[in-house]
């Protein structure tokens, strides 16, 4: 390495450090503001939807118009409902709704980490959904195949790790495809990963309706996994389909990824490639290899998410996998692509997903509301300039309504 090269690398390192330090606080602030703004816009949407919808018992009637949904009640249910009403008496953290929140959070940590890792390498992995689907199916098939071979205690100890590994292998291999296409054919990964999501859904549908389908069921699914091939529930009621072991595994992945990114040579190469690809290559980073490795690893994490979904929640593989992968994009962006931030963003999104079922039950507001919030959050986090502008106006003490007007313009 020549002196000039070292200088380059040093510059990049300084930029990295600067990026990490100066903007951490600001990023948290922007994420929080984006979230608040999303909830605000969501409230307006619920209000408008309440005016449009027809219902038997409106919450408000004014003249000829009726309001079917109470936006405040909706968001009360969304957040407090997801936790199992902590403000009411006799609250226990073991309540089934809170277990559902933790369950969703667990899968979302994996998909969030998957997207975040790729983002750090400067790669948009929109394919976590497909990688999760492939990993989930491979893990189910592996457990079904291995279960008869491993009897008694051996099965209880080995089946779950085996399934998790299979998920990682499936997701990793499926992530390697767009990685290789990007590295060696310069095919844009945003498009290839989205196309591969469609392919994953269709191919797995074929596999579970045809060769690996459950002969005893009409649904497109594999036969059910044996009890020993699923994450055991501890403390929580087994009926909640939540296992603390899976959440623990998620935390292990968070720690592992944090360490990988911050303290290893590979993590350094990966981040450098993400921030300054030409400088990275100049500094001796093999760009093509880093791209393939990042997407493979990203896919593997998504695949483990699929394994957890199959072995903790469903107990089999079934078509129509919920869009954890797309939620993972929001989780990662909200977390500033930081592994530790992913925990909080995933918990928040777990609340939204779990809360949406409470909302649908209590108010008739469609659970697709969360889908809308998912997009809004990404949009608002993507425009930090807006919040800086508002922040500057507030700081300058200009009590102009200008900022509010700008906000209104961006909301519609």
């Amino acid at each position: 390495m020549s002196d000039a090269d070292r200088e380059w690398v040093d510059t990049v390192r300084q930029r990295l450090i600067a990026l990490g330090q100066t903007s951490a606080g600001e990023r948290v602030l922007i994420a929080a503001s984006a979230l608040a703004l999303s909830v605000f816009v969501g409230t307006i949407i619920v209000f408008v939807a309440g005016l449009v919808a027809t219902c038997r018992d409106p919450v408000l009637t004014m003249g000829g118009t009726t309001l079917c949904y109470d936006p405040f009640f909706v968001f009360d249910r969304l957040f407090l409902g997801a936790l199992g009403d902590p403000l009411a008496g006799g609250w226990s953290p073991l309540n089934p709704q809170f277990a559902l929140t933790l369950r969703e959070t667990t899968v979302l940590v994996f998909t969030g980490l998957s997207v975040a890792l790729a983002f750090r390498a400067g790669i948009f992995n929109i394919g976590t959904q497909g990688q999760l689907v492939v990993g989930g199916l491979l893990s189910a098939l592996t457990v079904l195949w291995a279960a008869p071979l491993l009897s008694g205690g051996l099965g209880a100890v080995l089946l779950v790790p085996l399934g998790v590994t299979a998920g990682a292998v499936g997701g990793g291999a499926y992530g390697a495809i767009p990685g290789a296409l990007k590295a060696y054919a310069e095919a844009n990964e945003v498009i290839t990963t989205i196309m591969l999501n469609f392919v994953a859904v269709l191919v797995t549908r074929y596999l579970v309706t045809g060769p690996f389908g459950d002969p005893n069921s009409q649904a497109n699914q594999t036969p059910p996994l044996p009890e020993v091939g699923q994450f055991p529930s501890v403390v929580f009621d087994p009926r909640t389909d939540f296992s603390l072991f899976a959440l623990l595994l998620a935390f292990v992945f968070v720690g592992g990824l944090y360490y990988l990114l911050a303290y290893t040579a590979f993590g350094y190469d990966l981040r450098t490639a993400g921030i300054q690809p030409t400088a990275a290559e100049y500094g001796g980073v093999d760009a093509a290899r880093t791209i393939v490795a990042s997407l493979t690893l990203s896919g593997a994490i998504g695949g483990v998410g699929g394994a957890v979904y199959v072995m903790m929640i469903l107990g089999k593989f079934q078509t129509g996998v919920p869009s954890y992968g797309f939620d993972g994009i929001t989780v990662s962006i909200l977390a500033g692509n930081n592994p530790l931030g992913v925990v909080f963003a995933a918990a928040l999104f777990g609340v939204l997903k779990s809360g949406s079922t409470v909302v649908a039950f209590a108010t008739n507001v469609p659970p697709q509301l969360v889908g809308v919030l998912r997009g809004l959050i990404i949009l608002f986090v993507a425009m930090p300039e807006f919040f800086r502008l508002v922040g500057r106006r507030l700081a300058a003490g200009q009590e102009e309504t200008g900022a509010a007007a700008v906000g209104g313009g961006a909301d519609d």
Binding site: A53, V199, L202, F326, L376, A382
Partner: protein, 350 residues
């Protein structure tokens, strides 16, 4: 045609050449053995009903692709075309249901899609958002909002049914074998051809088109010439919403309903549109031709599902268009983006 091959000739030529070779090989095999499987496959490929289906399937993709060309040529990569198609497909049906008129529904869809594109433009141009992330947000917002709206208004992810656009049949010409399908088609198909012509003319032969290209290639020069770069970009992005709106409305009115389960009825067409215009080298005519390739494959796979020609399962046959997109993208490789695409432009005067 030369325009189509400008970018990196090798990849484009290769794909076009292979497609042509496969077609010729099929034809020769069909001549030698008309009753063989290959012969019957060729019969399906060159049937008028396959051409009709290809045209029908092309409509939303071509509209979105033309819109995408305008946005990207001006320097704003609009990866949210899928979202624009979704929102317009839903609002088209809602508007038609509300007003009782398909063409008013069409208008509602165009307005809704243009408004969403406007939001995207503000976020990208005013607040300097990362264009890719903002585009993904547009897609995800529409993916949530349309089924949400359908659930609120119609009580399910699928809307009620409205009329379809029907077909306009040109007498005599529609009786021509094979090409007759061109003259016995939905008004949306004719609109699509018109949009290609208008899009090409606007981009290549008008002052506005020159501004759009300059805003993407050399915004500083445009600024120096006294043209507001931001305004040109706003106009181009709004246009991408208008074209996509026509595409989404045409899609919904081809069956007279919006279906919102999973990826909705749009099902990746907006993303395929992006590949179509990349493969078509940002030329509306090129985009039309490459869309015809993807939509043609889709039409053939739809026909294959209804015949017993091959015992391939439907799910696998349905992957053909998606795999084709990936293969094309891999062969075309890196396309030459407009110089300033994806970058925010700051006028020196501020």
């Amino acid at each position: 045609m030369t325009d189509l091959l400008d970018g990196r000739p090798s990849g484009r030529l290769l794909v076009a050449g292979v497609a042509a070779l496969v077609f010729v090989a099929l034809g020769v095999a069909a001549l030698v053995a008309p009753e063989s499987q290959v012969g019957r496959l060729f019969g399906i490929v060159v049937s008028a009903s396959t051409l009709a289906a290809t045209l029908r399937l092309s409509v939303p993709i071509v509209f979105a692709a033309i819109g995408g060309i305008f946005a990207e040529k001006s320097g704003v990569i609009n990866i949210g075309l899928e979202g624009l198609l979704i929102i317009s497909a839903f609002t088209a049906v809602f508007g038609a249901d509300l007003t009782g008129s398909l063409w008013l529904g069409y208008l509602v869809a165009v307005v809704a899609s243009t408004a969403l594109a406007g939001l995207f433009a503000v976020v990208c141009i005013e607040f300097r958002a990362d264009q890719i992330i903002a585009g993904l947000a547009v897609w995800l917002i529409a993916l949530g909002l349309a089924p949400f709206g359908s659930q609120v208004i119609y009580g399910g992810p699928n809307t009620k049914s409205v009329d379809t656009l029907g077909t306009v049949t040109v007498p005599v010409l529609s009786d021509v074998p094979f090409f007759g399908a061109l003259f016995d088609a939905s008004p949306a198909v004719y609109l699509m051809f018109l949009a290609v012509a208008v899009g090409w003319y606007t981009l290549n032969r008008t002052t506005f088109g020159r501004w759009v290209r300059a805003a993407g290639e050399n915004p500083k020069a445009l600024d120096t010439a006294g043209v507001d770069v931001s305004r040109v970009r706003y106009a181009a992005v709004l246009l991408s919403g208008t074209f996509s709106g026509m595409g989404g409305a045409s899609l919904a009115f081809s069956i007279g309903q919006f279906t919102g389960n999973g990826p909705t009825m749009v099902n990746g067409k907006g993303f395929i549109a992006i590949v179509a215009y990349l493969f078509g080298n940002y030329n509306p005519v090129g985009a039309l031709l490459s869309t015809a390739l993807f939509a043609g494959l889709d039409a053939v796979q739809l026909r294959l599902q209804t015949t017993d020609l091959y015992a391939l399962p439907d799910s696998l046959v349905q992957t053909i268009p998606f795999v084709a997109v990936i293969v094309v993208l891999a062969f075309v490789g890196k396309t030459r983006l407009p110089e300033a695409a994806g970058e925010h432009y700051e006028s020196g005067e501020e």
